[in-house]
Symmetry: C2
Subunit: 472 residues, 2 copies
């Protein structure tokens, strides 16, 4: 069950940081051509306008791109046109069926003891309420574990408020513990008879902004509405509960599912030479949540991998292996694109030499992890040597990789994982604040330099990265 | 005309900072009793929980307090009860008639060239739109001056977008220039034939949050809807305009006026001894905008002046003059309470020895200004001497004082003005973010120490502060 969480609901791409990271073995020596070109790529990346232009374009000309919406389709069309303009080869859209959930309107208010309207958002996938809303007494719990320990008699007929606060961490490691209540809160609360669930936002800022993100139901448990309230609103609700008086809450929501729609993974390539059938896959996702323009999540990733591939394609001599950029459909709400990709490309999965994903915003990369066959670590050591001047630390060979390349990783495809600085990522992640002004051009371009470095070396070295045992 | 702005529409309480502040004359010597008690007040203020409790109470138990609403009336009742509980004397509510404007709902969207919904708020007092909304081409101008220079042919039938960005300044001096477009934008745009006005938020954060605040119409100019959009949304609109394509905008709003309501100025006193008919007036305002709980604006001020007066009342020996706390009604939307106070207390205005107001949040006080008869500046020098250890600089004898004590000041009543650090004030001012979590207890209590120091000295010294020529 735990296994499903990152696959189905995580936008997060966390290095699996161990406190005791194995040191790397001595590096292989890279050809002079490769080293020279890496230096050129890194220098050019820092001045290249294209990653930022892509983020600006997607956020300005397309905007929100929730799966199934008109914005989603506009995003696909925009990306197809853009990859073609940029001179990518074999540009194509692979169809993906996606769910279509509509947020509708939401009212959330404390009815008693001290009536106040709250800033709240429906969690992605939540059902709505009856027309008149639901009003019920509140029971506050610290976290999911505390909820599980409750007696049904104390929960039945109530709205459960899960008050757990997310920790701010550079590596984003506060997300995992905090997001469980978003994903599973409704099921756990309904199991005990609750009529609704309200969670403290899975976000690190004290802005009066609540973050959305996927939640799920379970067939054998009654579906109840699930919403998040901002940190200041959670503080307010907590204070009203702390007053010792009975607290009553009202939720009215018109959220609903509409019929599935078609979307697409958008693909473009920088064709290789000698090993052109072997693929170095660079992943990001085109869709976004509906509340904002998805600048960090994941227009940034789209800009980073596209610009990195383009810079490699601009070199005088084409790479040996093919660089394939895959801009996935519907990462946010079920990973439809990721699953479709492995189906659609089942024949050639064994030629996917390595995969890497950019889906943790545009913070400066400060660490680097991999998941490759142990005997290939000297190759990773050579990569790390080229990244070190960019201020990047080695983080071990147990990388998660990312959500969209998860199905590839689970089939044994090796992955590389640059780790962005996520200190401020969860201030904007999945909320209205995820807009272009939060993107720092220099940090974005440092990402381009890192992805270009790794993809280029991976496309040029004689060896591959081995194969790992399939994990599922 | 310019004169009216601070009176009618400013929540701001800015020291009139000159670059060339006249140095103070040598101070009078304060009695040992006064000096000892000031030291005690300052020490106790830093540990006193009451200012914070008041801010927490008003924001938790009352919430938004826009004039004319149920929250406004709840605020009056709450304050009456609280002043009585705290042992204030002569606690009373002086009735004030206030306007009642209702925000209703607002939709604001770019219709073309790239459709996107924006985060926007109606400006306080704006009319709504017809049921179907208004849709019109956008004309973007940098500021009010640029708008005034436009030809009617370029504005007629359009929605004017005033794009001016507010500067972040420690003394809040970015507010004056930025707020003009909020107050006068609708009139200036309508004069040239515009059908609506959209302003870049008068706020300093890049949160996707827009700030409200009073705007006004003029009888001889057509009324048009006036809204503010957040900084990121203004950036987006600016980029779409910069694309060179025609930009079309839609506004739909149900804002409206309801019949006037009754509210009240809430008053409580620490009675004096020898000069008990002479009044040292401490002002703050009870009302807030509707978007948030008004923690900085102005529950903080209510907490500061109430706790400062209470600390003085807790001294073993009562002050010579009476300390009067006035918690004004409807500062935000027309200063009804301030005008009513001078009417209601016309008989005793000559016994108002000095007035001071707290209405610029709870940032640490870093400067001190006054507006007293020049021959009384040695007394101000003695005050400044007691404030210096708190890290406070002298800022001159041309203080503005504040909006609520403006009518008193204009009648010649001297004023004192502590200047709060406003660096972050306009991140939360008049927007949804003005909540309790933004209040720093230590900074709040430093304010209490400052206000207690000044009020106590003013209540104890033999001299008064002279009288200034009435300015209107």
């Amino acid at each position: 069950m735990k296994k499903l969480l990152p696959l189905l609901f995580s936008a997060l791409c966390l290095p699996a940081l161990a406190n005791d990271v194995e040191p790397l073995p001595p590096p292989v020596e890279l050809d002079k051509l490769v080293r020279d070109n890496v230096a050129a790529l890194q220098e050019r990346a820092m001045k290249d306008p294209r990653a930022y232009e892509i983020v600006a374009g997607l956020t300005t000309e397309v905007g929100p791109r929730l799966a199934g919406t008109a914005g989603d389709r506009a995003g696909v069309a925009w990306a197809m046109a853009r990859l073609r303009e940029l001179g990518f080869k074999n540009v194509r859209a692979e169809s993906v069926e996606v769910p279509h959930w509509e947020r509708g309107t939401l009212e959330a208010e404390i009815v008693a003891p001290f009536p106040q309207q709250l800033v709240a958002v429906s969690l992605g996938g939540s059902i709505g309420t009856p027309e008149e809303g639901i009003t019920a007494p509140v029971v506050m719990v610290e976290n999911l574990e505390a909820l599980s320990a409750m007696k049904p008699a104390d929960v039945r007929g109530r709205i459960v408020f899960i008050n757990e606060r997310m920790r701010r961490e550079r590596d984003g490691s506060g997300y995992g513990p905090a997001v469980a209540k978003r994903s599973r809160g409704a099921v756990e609360a309904a199991r005990l008879g609750a009529v609704g669930v309200v969670i403290r936002t899975v976000g690190t800022s004290n802005n009066r902004i609540a973050h959305t993100g996927g939640m799920r139901y379970q067939d054998d448990v009654r579906r109840i509405p699930a919403i998040a309230i901002s940190n200041p609103d959670a503080d307010l609700l907590e204070r009203q509960v702390a007053s010792g008086r009975d607290v009553s809450f009202r939720i009215r929501s018109t959220a609903r599912y509409l019929p599935n729609e078609m979307s697409a993974n958008v693909i473009g390539e920088i064709p290789g030479r000698g090993k052109k059938d072997e693929i170095v896959l660079l992943a990001a996702h085109l869709d976004s949540w509906d509340l904002a323009t998805g600048a960090h999540d994941d227009a940034a990733g789209v800009g980073i991998v596209t610009a990195a591939a383009r810079l490699i394609g601009d070199l005088r001599r084409a790479p040996e292996r093919t660089i394939r950029v895959v801009l996935y459909a519907n990462e946010e709400f079920g990973l439809s694109g990721a699953r479709q990709y492995v189906k659609e490309n089942a024949d050639t999965l064994d030629r996917h030499v390595i995969a890497m994903e950019a889906d943790f915003g545009a913070g400066r990369v400060w660490q680097f992890a991999s998941r490759v066959a142990p005997e290939r670590l000297p190759l990773i050591a050579a990569m790390q040597e080229m990244l070190a001047p960019l201020g990047i630390e080695w983080a071990g060979n147990a990388a998660y990789g990312g959500a969209d390349i998860g199905p590839l990783r689970d089939l044994g495809v090796p992955v590389l994982q640059p780790g962005q600085d996520g200190t401020y990522y969860f201030d904007v992640h999945h909320n209205v604040n995820d807009t272009l002004d939060k993107i720092d051009r220099d940090d974005l371009n440092q990402n381009v330099a890192v992805y270009a470095t790794l993809a280029y070396i991976a496309a040029m070295v004689d060896e591959d990265f081995g194969r790992l045992p399939a994990s599922r």
